[in-house]
């Protein structure tokens, strides 16, 4: 049975969202934060059965899946195992699966050739049974299974009929089009013959399956009411298995179509209750139109269990608290309580501010919070009635999973600042906690969050209460925990921010930076901490210190920057300040970085600034960073000796030009502390200034000009100086602009820089002048004005 049709149910089209671009804003960037694991300490998988997992709290409709991904494959395993058992010893599993499911991959109209032919073969086999004449398929499959066996024949005939109905229940290709809204199966004779087999067969396995097939055929027919009639007539004799609940959800669907919402929702709730496989579908389909539908559904419930089922499904992205209250009253042992409780706790977490920063008004700098300020903010956000409800259930101890309520309560007590009672709740949870890895880790994590929260000021004594857990979070779990469920990432980042805030309170900027490094900065603006030289030296001292305390060791280990990165930054800074001997010393401290090679020749000076061209050009010698600095040093020494002043000055001008933003050697400065980016706006102001400044280069070009002896040499210097003037013009023009959009389009692409004027006036007879005209559009435009 080919099952590749994509459910349209859960895909949001522009019709339902009214084609608004604003919708992204509306969700508050919902796209980025769909995965709740990153702001939660409470793993729902610890507490609720797998069948509920799509219903855990999520930014999307479903948790972990963007839509119902199993629409066509939900029962594949079920079907395979049912038939596999039935045909055991007669047909091998591979063959059974081949005919039942075939190829799971989606098909496009363009790749017809590659599809398998299991359906066609079933038709052939059916024909073979009918007219007793061998055909290609019967010959082929006759070798693999006993075609004469009654069970095999039943299997083939069942599939033959089932596939007829699949022509309407399953689509083949996303990019194909059917002109009707919903295909219907209107071969009434065929439906009748299916029902006849149901009526006559004595084999209970087959009878059950033909019963379902009759339901399915009627469901897809034009007279859907007949499906309900058939169901009502036969229901009592049918085993209450998955097939029964699938059929019951057909009945619910037909009622919905007939606008009998109360019945429909009542039935969906019963399927939700009894058939875990269909939980995601029924939760989605459950859809009271108004309050009356809902109350009517409730009135239809025959007993407490059925009522609880209604509240359970109602609680899905509705009002969890109310649902928990009602279900708890009706059936405290209900399994549905578990997933609702995780939603309730996760919802509390959602409101928390874990950034230790106060949300600022627009255009205001963000204000950092102290630990106390952060706690005050977060404590005010815990819903009191949710807390009371969980406390009540935890105390009563009469649910199926008491530890869920104890851990929930303990966690909320932590969040409210009641650390002593939180400890008690966790101790109580231990008594009923299952011995699974996940449950153990969950308890440990919540205890840790409680323990760290107890600390207002770090002391040698209280530090000890968190060291083992910090090691666990930062070092052990990332290495050893491979599954994705356990939510420890939030505790990992929260604890860093918490410790950073504590150190800030102690006026210890180094340790505050060590734990509070913002290494995932969106704009990639490097690390501004290092703009202050005292900070830089202090952190170097710290990192080099041999006798670190335990917590210092932990911090140094998670800090992404190492000594060599800082030395590298110092080397870059010294180079831009033209303190080359210093730069060489620092560069030598950078391990492998000093041996990185420039992509182009850093001593070349081109007419056009084109780093790609320079990178592609033939280079006789490849310069490493340290070679570069040593060569610069040599040239400077020679210059000091007045040796070959023109050439050395020119090459030094090129060297400093090339390591700037405008040159061919940007990799020299693109390091973590400076930042990365092809636009100067990607860098913080201090770095932007450093990498766009051409003053050093210009000074060397001016020296070269003074020492130049030929007209060609002079023309070259004048032009290269003009490039520096041009860069300066752009720097001034765009430096104060913070927003890319607000750059005024004044249509001035260039002005007549002095160098251009001189070049035209005094050097128009040089070859270099001609080269410049040929290559430099600015200049060409200028002379043609």
């Amino acid at each position: 049975m080919k099952r590749i049709f994509l459910s349209k149910l859960f895909l949001v089209s522009s019709v339902t969202i009214l084609s608004v671009y604003g919708i992204l804003n509306a969700c508050g960037g919902g796209d980025d934060w769909d995965f709740f694991g990153y702001n939660s300490n409470f793993t729902p998988e610890t507490f609720a059965d797998k069948s509920y997992s799509p219903l855990f709290l999520a930014g999307d409709i479903f948790y972990g899946v963007g839509f119902d991904t199993k629409h066509n494959s939900r029962f594949n395993e079920n079907i395979k195992s049912d038939w596999g058992t039935y045909l055991k010893g007669v047909v091998d599993t591979t063959t059974v699966n081949y005919f039942l499911i075939g190829d799971d991959k989606p098909r496009y109209y363009s790749d017809e050739k590659n599809t398998i032919k299991n359906k066609e073969e079933i038709t052939d086999l059916h024909v073979f049974y009918k007219n007793k004449k061998q055909n290609a398929s019967s010959v082929k499959w006759g070798k693999k299974m006993p075609l004469k066996d009654a069970k095999v024949k039943s299997f083939v005939e069942f599939l033959y009929l089932a596939q007829k109905i699949e022509t309407v229940s399953i689509g083949e290709d996303y990019w194909s089009y059917d002109p009707v809204v919903a295909k219907t199966f209107n071969d009434l004779q065929m439906i009748q013959s299916i029902e006849n087999v149901y009526n006559t067969t004595a084999d209970s396995f087959l009878k059950n399956r033909y019963w379902f097939l009759t339901m399915k055929a009627r469901f897809y027919s034009n007279s859907k009411q007949k499906a309900i009639d058939f169901f009502n007539k036969t229901e009592s004799s049918v085993p209450k298995n998955v097939l029964y609940y699938r059929a019951l959800s057909y009945v619910a669907g037909i009622n919905y179509q007939q606008k009998k919402y109360a019945v429909s929702n009542y039935l969906y709730a019963q399927v939700f209750d009894k058939c875990p496989e269909l939980r995601i579908v029924t939760a989605y389909s459950f859809h009271p139109k108004n309050e009356a539908d809902w109350t009517k559904s409730l009135a239809m419930a025959k007993n407490n269990k059925e009522k609880a089922a209604l509240w359970a499904i109602h609680g899905f992205y509705k009002d969890e608290k109310q649902a928990i209250e009602k279900i708890y009253e009706l059936d405290p042992k209900s399994e549905h309580l578990n997933y609702l409780a995780t939603r309730l706790v996760n919802k509390q977490e959602q409101a928390l501010n874990n950034s230790f920063q106060q949300k600022a008004e627009e255009n205001q700098p963000v204000k950092n919070q102290t630990v106390a300020e952060n706690k005050t903010e977060n404590q005010s956000k815990i819903d009191k009635s949710a807390f009371d409800l969980i406390a009540k259930i935890s105390a009563a101890d009469n649910t199926a999973r008491p530890y869920l309520w104890d851990l929930s309560l303990g966690y909320l007590q932590t969040l409210k600042g009641d650390y002593a009672n939180a400890d008690k709740s966790f101790d109580k949870a231990v008594k009923t906690l299952p011995k699974t890895e996940l449950a153990g880790m969950q308890l440990r994590l919540l205890r840790f969050v409680n323990n760290l929260n107890k600390i207002d000021k770090l002391t040698d004594k209280n530090e000890k209460t968190i060291l083992a857990d910090l090691n666990w979070l930062y070092y052990e779990l990332p290495k050893t925990y491979k599954e994705g469920e356990f939510r420890y990432q939030n505790a990992s980042s929260w604890s860093r921010s918490y410790l950073s805030a504590l150190y800030k309170g102690k006026s210890d900027p180094v340790m505050s930076e060590i734990f509070g490094e913002s290494r995932y900065s969106y704009w990639n603006d490097g690390n501004a901490f290092y703009d202050n030289e005292k900070n830089l030296l202090d952190i170097k001292t710290f990192l080099a210190k041999p006798n670190k305390t335990e917590i210092e060791k932990i911090g140094a280990g998670i800090y992404s920057l190492k000594l060599k990165d800082i030395s590298n930054f110092q080397a870059v800074q010294a180079t831009f300040k033209n303190k080359i001997p210093e730069a060489i010393t620092f560069m030598k401290e950078t391990d492998s970085v000093q041996y990185y090679k420039f992509l182009g020749n850093p001593f070349n000076g081109s007419i056009k600034d084109c780093h790609d061209c320079d990178h592609a050009a033939y280079q006789k010698r490849k310069y490493t960073f340290i070679d570069f600095l040593n060569t610069v040093k040599e040239m400077q020494d020679k210059l000091a000796q007045k040796e070959d002043v023109y050439t050395n000055s020119l090459l030094l001008g090129n060297a400093f030009y090339n390591i700037s933003h405008f040159g061919n050697g940007r990799t020299f400065y693109e390091i973590s502390i400076v930042g990365y980016g092809s636009s100067p706006y990607s860098f913080r102001d201090s770095m932007k200034k450093m990498i766009t400044n051409c003053d050093v280069s210009k000074t060397y070009y001016q020296k070269a000009l003074q020492a130049a002896t030929t007209k060609e040499q002079k023309a070259k210097c004048v032009y290269l100086i003009a490039k520096c003037e041009r860069n300066e013009y752009y720097n001034n023009k765009y430096n104060n602009v913070t927003n890319w959009w607000s750059i005024e389009d004044d249509k001035i692409n260039f002005i007549a820089w002095n160098g251009f004027k001189t070049l035209k006036k005094d050097y128009s007879d040089t070859q270099y002048y001609k080269d410049v005209i040929a290559e430099c559009g600015y200049f060409n435009t200028y002379i043609n004005q």
Binding site: L6, K8, L11, V12, S13, S14, V15, I17, L18, S19, V20, Y21, G22, I23, N25, A26, C27, G28, V65, G66, F67, T69, P106, Y109, Y174, W175, S176, Y177, D178, P179, V180, V181, H287, P288, K289, N290, E291, D293, W294, K318, D319, Q322, A351, W741, D745
Partner: protein
Amino acid sequence: MVLMVVLFSACSKNNKPVIAFYYWKTNLKFSQTEKEVLKENDVHKLYVRYFDIGLHPETQSPIPISPIHFQENTSFEIVPVVFIQNKVMLQTNLDIEDLAKKTIHLIDEINKKNKINYTEIQIDCDWTLNSKDNYLKFIEQIKKLSQKKLSATIRLHQVKYFRKTKIPNVDHGVLMFYNMGTIAPDSLNSIYSQKISANYLKSLKKYPLNLDYALPIYSWAVHIRNNKVVGLRSKLNFSELKKDKNFVQINSIFFKARQSNYKNGVYYEENDLLKIESISADDLKEMGEDLSENSAKAPKEIIFYDLDEFNLKSYEKNIFEQVISCF
């Protein structure tokens, strides 16, 4: 009568643009009111949403979403409109030619099976700087492969910053004169604001592409919980909301849920807010005047978004006439 005269004199010139509509539902079937409006306004052309293109949630390959079904035969000139989610165009490994082929193939198939002739295709995509390159190439491919007249929707910011956002190579554009603000819990109207539009109107004359205008006649309610937007509720009947005992009106645009309840299939928690965002007849005329004043060239068509009985009920019958008389 006196009032009517005043209204008409506010804007009336010759060479009026024609009235057209967007049809943005998945099943095309006109209600009696819709039929009347189409007839009374002498509408010949409908811009019909054929399908969206989104990404398959698992494979991330582009797929069509909710293709249109025609449930009646129409004599209108139909322009198929394809809405492409920007995330499709943001894909770095997008096979643009393949997508263009599939798109045209599906449009053709829909037209063939519903016996519709067509001469024009419209592409609707809120492209951004990062998706610009793919989108412009996609437009080129559609143009090349379809051999049809091609139009594209243009957003206000794309007019103002066209040097950065570029202009798709189409025969003409349709300026979407709505969705101006952010859907937010504040008291502003995200559909239309004259203040916001003023920031962009001056750029219209400089825009190098011929533009028709699309004006909003839809309304919706913004569903707000704890000062956060939780959803948009379209087709909410406000007069009915006023009567609904589960809600209380707190000012001209805000309603509050007195207690948790289900309404139109949506669950409202106690104290949830509904902010009504709608477009009045005066708003529409204001848009007409502003656009007319700032247009380089008079538009040939004013397309109203969207044809739906619910939307039509909010206006007097002659509203569309009144709006186009502004041009």
